[in-house]
């Protein structure tokens, strides 16, 4: 239980912090595609006899890099490109899993998340991720937000647009694949998007939008763990439901504040 709380305190703020520029970029679908690439990543790991977590992260990074590359070289809209990758990685994952009898049981923990089974090594990895994300955002946050307003304008301001786009996609992939341990493949995007979306409902500037998202993520994480313990519900789902409640409340507040 203690370990689950520490894990959540690492993963939730990291996911929410990355979620703020992610929502600004309108990349929610991208993070969903990375999340679902975990199917294939885990399957490859089991197939090769490597720890699934390693292959899941590696494959997630590969897919993020591939999508970013293809997106920059085609005239198709980004969501079309992501849509193609999205279905390909799921199909590949299901094909590999279905060929390996007995793999489905292994997959449960990744589909729904299994926070209570987080190992010491995974915990260290999650802590490292939180520090890594904080360091990355400290260096790159301003320039990433500038790209989100207008690529060409950012470029004219001396921002290395392509390098930052790729590095941000890779950081998102790291966060998504790590957060899968907490809330599962099906709900991982929610951990990134919902706190940032909730904070946007009531924030006026960048300061409140960012810290609001982090606070909402931590609050949902902790209340979700507590509630799931007493109600005996799946932790990941309960956490996301709390985040969704925050969204509903802030959306109503927005209506009252502007109405």
């Amino acid at each position: 239980m203690k370990r689950a709380i520490v894990a959540m305190l690492c993963v939730a703020p990291a996911a929410a912090a990355v979620g703020v520029p992610l929502v600004h970029f309108r990349m929610a679908f991208f993070s969903d595609a990375i999340g679902h690439s975990a199917f294939t990543g885990v399957a490859i790991g089991v197939l090769l006899g490597v720890h699934p977590l390693l292959t899941m992260v590696a494959f997630g990074l590969f897919v993020a890099w591939a999508i970013t590359l293809v997106k920059g070289r085609t005239e198709l809209s980004p969501d079309t490109v992501i849509g193609v990758f999205f279905s390909t990685v799921i199909a590949l994952g299901i094909a590999v899993i279905s060929a390996q009898k007995g793999l489905t049981r292994n997959l449960q923990a990744y589909l729904y998340g299994d926070l209570l089974a987080v190992s010491e090594t995974e915990l260290l990895w999650m802590a490292a991720l939180l520090f890594g994300v904080a360091a990355y955002l400290f260096l790159a946050f301003n320039r990433i937000m500038l790209i989100g307003v207008h690529e060409g304008f950012a470029k004219s301001m001396g921002v290395p647009v392509r390098a930052l786009e790729i590095s941000f996609a890779l950081v998102v992939a790291l966060v998504v694949t790590t957060a899968i341990r907490a809330v599962g493949i099906l709900l991982v995007t929610a951990l990134l998007v919902v706190p940032a979306a909730s904070a946007r409902n009531i924030a006026r500037g960048a300061v409140s939008a960012f810290w609001g998202a982090v606070a909402i993520a931590v609050a949902s994480g902790l209340s979700g763990i507590a509630a799931s313990y007493y109600l005996d519900t799946a932790t990941g789902a309960t956490v996301v439901l709390f985040a969704a409640a925050f969204f509903a409340v802030t959306a109503m507040l927005k209506g009252i504040l502007r109405g």
């Binding site: 600004h24 307003v149 060409g152 470029k155 921002v159």
Partner: protein
Amino acid sequence: MTAPGHHHTLEIRNLSVRAGGTEILSGINADIRCGEVTALVGPNGAGKTTLLLAILGLVPYTGEIRFCRAAEHGEGAPRIGYVPQRLDFDRNTPMTVLDFFALSSQRYPVIFGHSARSRRSARESLTRVDADHLVSRPLGKLSGGELQRILLALALRDNPDILLLDEPVSGVDLSGEALFCDFLGKIHSETRFSLLLVSHDLSVVGRHADRVICLNRRIICQGATTEMLTPENLEAMYGSGAHLVSHGPANGRGHLHAPPRPDQEEEKGG
């Protein structure tokens, strides 16, 4: 003041841009002269914005784009200012005008607040375009004209050698246009940067530009404004029946810096 023709801020040699198997721009040769206003005109899909993106290094191209820095602007790489046609960002983005300025003027993330220096610099830049009252407004809630003024203020903040303006008056009402051109004229006469202006509105071009580049996937013609905007050239670019219509004061306010051109009136009588 630099004598026209002696310095080029930008030299474009044999530039071609291909995308998806079609040539968007081919064999472009053009010079942007120091301190002058050059207008880039042409029909929709002529590749005007693509040319700006190539200059910014955002689309792959073949050929050469050389930046030259006038000695009086000091050492180092030339600065490019850019005001895009429109911003395609989410209008609900929680970002104030001050946040937006601070994104490029302070090292630490704006989520830790704004440095005194970026506050001061934002105020100064905004005052320059008469928009200091907008400093704490959310970026997404500004009108088209206000947003363009903010972008112009930011593009001019670091004293660019060349300013690229994409359709500076599109989506802005006529009085907003006059206002925008007035600011630009005032600032241009103070700092003498080179200006490359994309415009559909030939009356704006006639009033503000020293030189014109007529583009339709290749260069149709280029030269002094008064010589270029002839019925023949317009027809080559836009098809038959094209002519100039003036819808605004043709003299006085709005001139960037060029002396009055007596022959301009005749050309505008469309």
